[in-house]
């Protein structure tokens, strides 16, 4: 029982990461009809906003400490962060410590701007081009973004730790009446889960309760008609692209403490997020979220020893197997609409 609860927790957490990425991807599919292979790269850039902010806050001046030697036997260079010397020890170090949450705030305008720039500068010219062209250009863009990050940060992962207050884990087991250590869960993952819940509900509320959102939803259903009403749907779609980028970006920022970001993390997520979006059903936001959580939970269960001992290697293929089964039984995924991306 405790093992099952544990995997449900894991699944919800993985699922929230999948759902966040898939949500942005679906917004772009649904509103703009663009197959965006660069979406993973946007997620990656979000994570690197956290890394960059951490670096900026830790910018240091160097003093030499003759009492210690460096690897060449010269006096050791000791780095002193500017923020610490400006704001004092506690506040300065606190800033560095809280760099990931701060990065969320910073990342929203950054990612919005990046999204706008991408849409206005590149994507908008591809609305009426074949999907093949969209794939080629966004894939090219993804490579370029990756390589730029690699040029600055190298290929190896770079840690961006959570604030100390959120390190360590919580013992759910004791709380639920199991023995200690039966169900432990890291604080930051709980934060991630809550956070993605907030972002997802935020996006849904935005689309449901604002006029802007209503127009966009109408545009997703029937772009021509909305255009005929004299509403400038294009500008709204630009904003939607920005929002999709921001959602992926903050997802990346929040993910940074869970796994140290590296330049190819976007590509690692890309295939999976496409699977999630399609299993959810093209153009369906609730479908994307549902599929994200479903696949997250299924994946977690497949990695349980009890299940792996019955079907060895099942965790290698479970996601794809489930995707195939769902697509064969439900032609348009879980909640897809007819006619979207079927040609």
């Amino acid at each position: 029982m405790d093992a099952i609860i544990l995997q449900v927790l894991n699944g919800l957490d993985k699922g929230s990461a999948y759902a966040l990425i898939a949500l942005g991807l679906t917004l772009i599919f649904g509103t703009l009809g663009v197959v965006n292979f660069a979406h993973g790269a946007i997620f990656m850039i979000g994570a690197f906003v956290a890394v960059t902010l951490n670096r900026l806050l830790s910018l240091s001046y160097v003093t030499l400490d003759p009492s210690q030697k460096n690897f060449l036997g010269q006096p050791l260079e000791v780095k002193n962060a500017y923020v610490v010397s400006w704001f004092g020890d506690s506040f300065g170090n606190g800033l560095i410590n809280w760099s990931v949450p701060i990065a969320i705030v910073v990342s929203i305008p950054v990612m919005l701007a990046l999204g706008f720039a991408m849409e206005r500068g590149l994507i908008k010219h591809f609305y009426h081009r074949p999907h093949a062209d969209q794939i080629l250009v966004t894939f090219g863009l993804a490579i370029v973004l990756q390589e730029i990050i690699k040029a600055f940060y190298g290929a190896n992962p770079i840690p961006a730790p959570a604030p100390e207050a959120f390190r360590g884990s919580f013992d759910f087991g004791v709380w639920l009446g199991f023995r200690p250590n039966a169900i432990i869960y890291p604080y930051w993952r709980m934060v991630y889960f809550l956070f993605s819940g907030i972002v997802i509900s935020g996006v849904f509320a935005f689309l449901r309760f604002t006029t802007f959102g209503m127009v966009v939803r109408a545009g997703m259903a029937d772009r021509e008609t909305v255009g005929l009403l004299g509403i400038n749907i294009d500008r709204r779609f630009t904003i939607m692209f920005g929002i999709a980028a921001a959602v992926a970006g903050v997802a990346g920022v929040m993910y940074a403490p869970i796994n140290s970001p590296n330049y190819h993390m976007g590509m690692d997520f890309l295939v999976l997020s496409f699977v999630v979006v399609v299993v959810g059903g093209m153009g369906s936001l609730p479908g994307a979220v549902l599929a994200g959580f479903l696949l997250g939970i299924v994946e977690s269960f497949a990695s349980m020893n009890e299940i792996k001992s019955i079907i060895p290697g099942i965790d290698q293929i479970i996601i794809y197997l489930i995707a195939i089964l769902i697509l064969l039984t439900r032609p348009r995924g879980l909640m897809g609409r007819a006619g979207v991306m079927e040609d």
Binding site: V35, Y127, V279, Q316, R332
Partner: protein, 412 residues
């Protein structure tokens, strides 16, 4: 015998001549000169360009004609390679049984995957094929390792039975051949003749010419399919499947046939890769390889005859030539400049070559799709048409490639 029209005959002739003379054409610079870095006329790269050309030609029969975008063709490439290497291990180092088995097994595998995946269309189809390929990759890498030898890849060993060849006695691994060396020498895949002409060095490799002949045949076959009623039906599938159904055509067998044919082309390419270099790794089945052939086809021009081969050549050239340009080479090129300028020039180019070759490739993808919409072939035709129109003030040339017009985008 040639039941094709004059334009196609000319195209066939050009392809044949270019492919057969490629060891000259891709080796334009003299040895030892700074530009020799850009020579691509060495056996391995020539073979690779041709083999991936075959892969892309086959992929184009599915994607270019029917519009069904498969992300899973790497699976057939991998199955082809594994089949061929198993033939080398069990039967003989002669490549013909290996290649034949590669075509057969990949065809059967494509039949299975196509039969299931073609129940859906559009992106749903793409994701189904992707899922199958990724499953195959993961299984080959970690689960079915007694068949695939996992991470390390399936290789030939001294201890393999090779029932037709007899056991190797001298402790060296045999090499793949088209005619057994016991009968006639010089037909091992790795055999290379060299020709020094002044400062130029040209290499003629048996393996390359085997693949080249197969490429020419594969291209001819694809041309015939393009010009056949079958090809017409496939193009009709791409433009309006509903109408086709109401015209009394059952589209499923047509798309399935196209899927299986393209799968067999992929298997052939996989078999040839193994024939040139008897090692089959699971990586060959990864989605990135399937994605690469998609990019090759789109880059060259999906639905055009020659585009996929150009795209394959383009990408393989970049991967192999640009990744090898390092700073030492750059300094050598710019050694005529004064030191400061030299360093500046090297620093300027440095991010785009060597370890930055992928950046250049990404930029080229974007540039091609922006400035040459429809890929290299169609894009350059349009440019040429534009140029002609400007000079002659008449309409553009006839659309020789029957390239379909752009499809409306999804939100419509």
């Amino acid at each position: 015998m040639m039941k094709i029209n004059l334009n196609d005959k000319i195209l066939m002739l050009i392809v044949t001549v270019v492919v057969l003379l490629a060891p000259f054409i891709l080796q334009p610079f003299a040895e030892g000169t700074a530009l020799a870095q850009f020579n691509a006329g060495y056996p391995d790269l020539l073979q690779r360009i041709v083999i991936f050309g075959i892969f892309a030609i086959g992929f184009n029969i599915l994607f270019g004609l029917t519009g069904y975008l498969s992300f899973g063709h790497a699976a057939f490439l991998g199955v082809g390679s594994y089949s061929a290497v198993w033939m080398f291990k069990l039967l003989s180092m002669n490549v013909i049984p290996g290649i034949l088995l590669a075509i057969v097994t990949s065809g059967l595998f494509a039949l299975l995957i196509g039969w299931i995946s073609l129940r859906r269309s559009g992106i749903y189809f793409s994701i189904l094929t992707l899922a199958f390929a990724q499953m195959s990759y993961n299984l080959a890498y970690s689960v079915l390792t007694q068949f695939t030898n996992g991470e390390t890849g399936l290789q030939i060993r001294l201890s393999d039975p090779r029932v037709l060849d007899g056991a190797a006695t001298n402790g060296t691994l045999p090499s793949t051949n088209i005619l057994p060396p016991s009968l006639v020498n010089g037909f091992e895949m790795r055999d290379t003749y060299q020709l020094h002409l002044g400062n130029w060095l040209f290499q003629f490799n048996t393996g390359y010419y085997v693949t080249a002949v197969i490429l020419i045949l594969a291209f001819y076959l694809s041309l015939r399919i393009f010009r056949s009623p079958f090809g017409l039906m496939l193009r009709a599938v791409k433009t309006n499947q509903t109408r086709l159904n109401y015209t009394g055509i059952n589209t499923r067998p047509y798309t399935l046939a196209a899927f299986v044919i393209s799968g067999m082309y992929a298997g052939l390419a996989g078999g040839l890769l193994a024939a040139m270099d008897p090692l089959a790794g699971a990586e060959r089945m990864q989605w990135t390889v399937g994605g690469e052939v998609v990019l090759m086809t789109i880059l060259g021009g999906a639905g055009t005859l020659i585009g996929p081969v150009l795209g394959a050549g383009f990408i393989k050239y970049f991967e192999n030539i640009f990744s090898k340009i390092n700073d030492t080479v750059l300094h050598h090129w710019f050694s005529f400049l004064p030191d400061g300028l030299q360093n500046f020039a090297v620093d300027l180019i440095h991010p785009f070559v060597g370890k930055g070759w992928q950046l250049t490739l990404g930029l080229i993808f974007m540039a091609v799709v922006i400035f040459l919409p429809g890929g290299l072939v169609e894009g350059s035709q349009k440019l040429a048409g534009l140029f002609r129109r400007r000079t002659k003030k008449t309409g553009g040339g006839p659309d020789e490639q029957h390239h379909p017009k752009t499809t409306p985008h999804v939100a419509e």
